[in-house]
């Protein structure tokens, strides 16, 4: 009951915020919400299971491309719910096969392999022009039309749809990490051998977390392709993957709000830089390095250590820890 009320309150608050903002900031908020979902999916592995994936762009981009191709060719009659479901299913299938391979590695090796897989998909998207449009990207993706929500200010129902979906995913995510499954994942992060000794099937838990995380990343990718109405191979590439890993790192891995906060900060910084100068890569690179040097455990932890206050436990900050 309490959860339901909280969910409704969060939904109302998010919708109110989105409709109160000027159009430009509403667009930005929606972009941040999409990236926050991707950051959350990375954090299921990073902050909860203790696996740093450097290839989440693969799932993000794959979901985006499948939905985009379905939409451009009108293969499902333009029904966005079906397009989304198909795209997420394809990503789940891909991750279910890939997980069997990549979860045989750990640590730096896991990062290498996930990165290599994502880069291979990136290259494949560049090469297979008939399907993906190659380096020109895929144009002409149609945004879902949401009748009820388009009555809100701005008249763009899709933006509000993203906000609603993001809130719902966050609630569901909280549910997952507070379940026995979620606690088992946190146990695996702290000590794989201990969990194995307790009789948990460590591989199975990691595998399920991997597939679930991929599904969420794919879902974020679908929202992303509708948002831009366009997708480029770079959505699959190392830039996306590294950014998706940076977000939970910046916010505070293993916390519920950390990844969203990280997405907020990173997208805001990137958007500001891109608005100021064409050479945004150089200052963005500096941003990566400064964050890593100054706040190796994320903003939330950084703030908490500054405040030294117990009240921050509200944010599940009792023991944020790196993988």
């Amino acid at each position: 009951m309490r959860t339901l009320l909280l969910t409704l309150a969060a939904l109302a608050l998010a919708l109110a915020l989105a409709s109160a903002l000027p159009a430009f900031y509403r667009t930005l908020l929606v972009l941040i919400a999409i990236w926050a979902l991707l950051a959350l999916s990375v954090d299921l592995l990073l902050g909860h299971t203790g696996l740093a994936s450097l290839g989440h762009g693969a799932f993000f981009g794959l979901g985006g491309y499948v939905a985009g191709i379905l939409s451009v060719r009108q293969l499902l009659g333009g029904a966005w719910v079906l397009e989304t479901l198909t795209a997420v299913c394809v990503v789940v299938l891909f991750a279910a096969l890939l997980g069997l391979l990549v979860l045989r590695t750990r640590g730096a090796y896991f990062m290498m392999v996930t990165l290599a897989v994502a880069q291979i998909l990136w290259g494949a998207a560049q090469v297979s022009r008939p399907l993906t449009g190659g380096d020109d990207g895929l144009r002409g993706v149609l945004r879902p039309d949401v009748p009820l929500l388009s009555a809100l200010p701005g008249g763009n129902g899709y933006y509000y749809l993203v906000v609603v979906l993001a809130v719902l995913v966050f609630v569901a995510f909280r549910f997952v990490i507070r379940s026995p499954f979620g606690y088992a994942l946190n146990g695996i992060r702290q000590s794989e051998t201990r969990m194995a000794a307790l009789g948990y099937n460590v591989f199975l838990y990691k595998y399920l977390a991997f597939v679930l995380s991929a599904a969420l990343a794919g879902f974020a990718g679908v929202l992303f392709v509708y948002y831009n109405q366009y997708i480029h191979p770079n959505a699959l590439g190392i830039l996306t993957s590294a950014q998706a890993l940076l977000m939970p790192f910046v916010g505070g891995p293993g916390t519920l709000l950390g990844p969203a906060l990280g997405a907020f900060v990173v997208i805001l910084v990137q958007d500001t830089l891109a608005g100021l100068t064409e050479r945004w890569q150089l200052p963005m690179g500096l941003f990566y390095i400064v964050v890593v040097l100054l706040m190796p455990r994320g903003i939330l932890w950084f703030a908490a250590s500054l405040l030294r206050s117990g009240r921050w436990r509200v944010l599940r900050l009792a023991k944020p820890r790196l993988a």
Binding site: V113, A116, Q119, I120, L282, I289
Partner: protein, 283 residues
Amino acid sequence: MDFWVVQLVNGVSYGMLLFLVAVGLSLVLGLMGYLNLAHGVFVALGGYIGLTLVKARVDFWLAVLGGALVAMLVAAVLQQVLLGRFHSELTQVLGTFGLILIMMDVVLIVWGGVPETLRLPPVLNTLVPVLEARVPLYRLVLILLGTLVFLGMWWFQEKTPYGAVVRAGLDDRQMVEALGINIGLVAALVFVFGAFLAGAAGAIGAPIIGVHPVVPFDMLLLALVVIVVGGLGSIRGAFVGALIVGLTDNLGRALFPHLAYFTLFAPMALLLVFRPSGLFGRR
């Protein structure tokens, strides 16, 4: 027949380039567990410096040396100033990724984003008959060079007391430190030498793969696949892995141009199934 001879020569010579790129990354990863994503930047740097020097009418091999030395110098400075400050795997990956962004922008500012190829001196730019086919002399020179570097490194590591330190460090770093050897210094030297080879590969490879702003990412991907196939921290592994990847990538591009990148995935997936630590991996 000629087709296969040409493809074989192309694949093997490409593999030699990949060996030069991957071996440094692999050794540093094995010694310190340090995953340096910016390794491909050294390749790009070597390529651009080599290109600039050749345009300034410097002798080709001197230009290669220049590219390698500049890459080495940059690596040494970065190693001293910055890279040592990233302590966990995660900070290393994110920090070195930030470094890629910075360096790529610097490269764009200095050289612009237009892909260029380095022109070979006329002496090297000829075809020689091999069996029934005619293959570029330069490719054969590359094969010879790569093999010599491999044999030299292998000899150094297996037969000299300094190589023994590196081998010991790959096996058990803490024990080596306990014996009073500064393994950090050893790793730093290996890192700088790896950057030298990567820079040389950038310049040597410039007539074949060209120099363009995507080089750091392409080379990083190929080097990672080489390490996964060959096994981490092994010179032999890097050599065999580079040959396998060079041959499959080259054949894949020639036979199935639309599946070019998937042919890279195949050897990696096979290795992960049957030998997750790679062909010559230590763990």
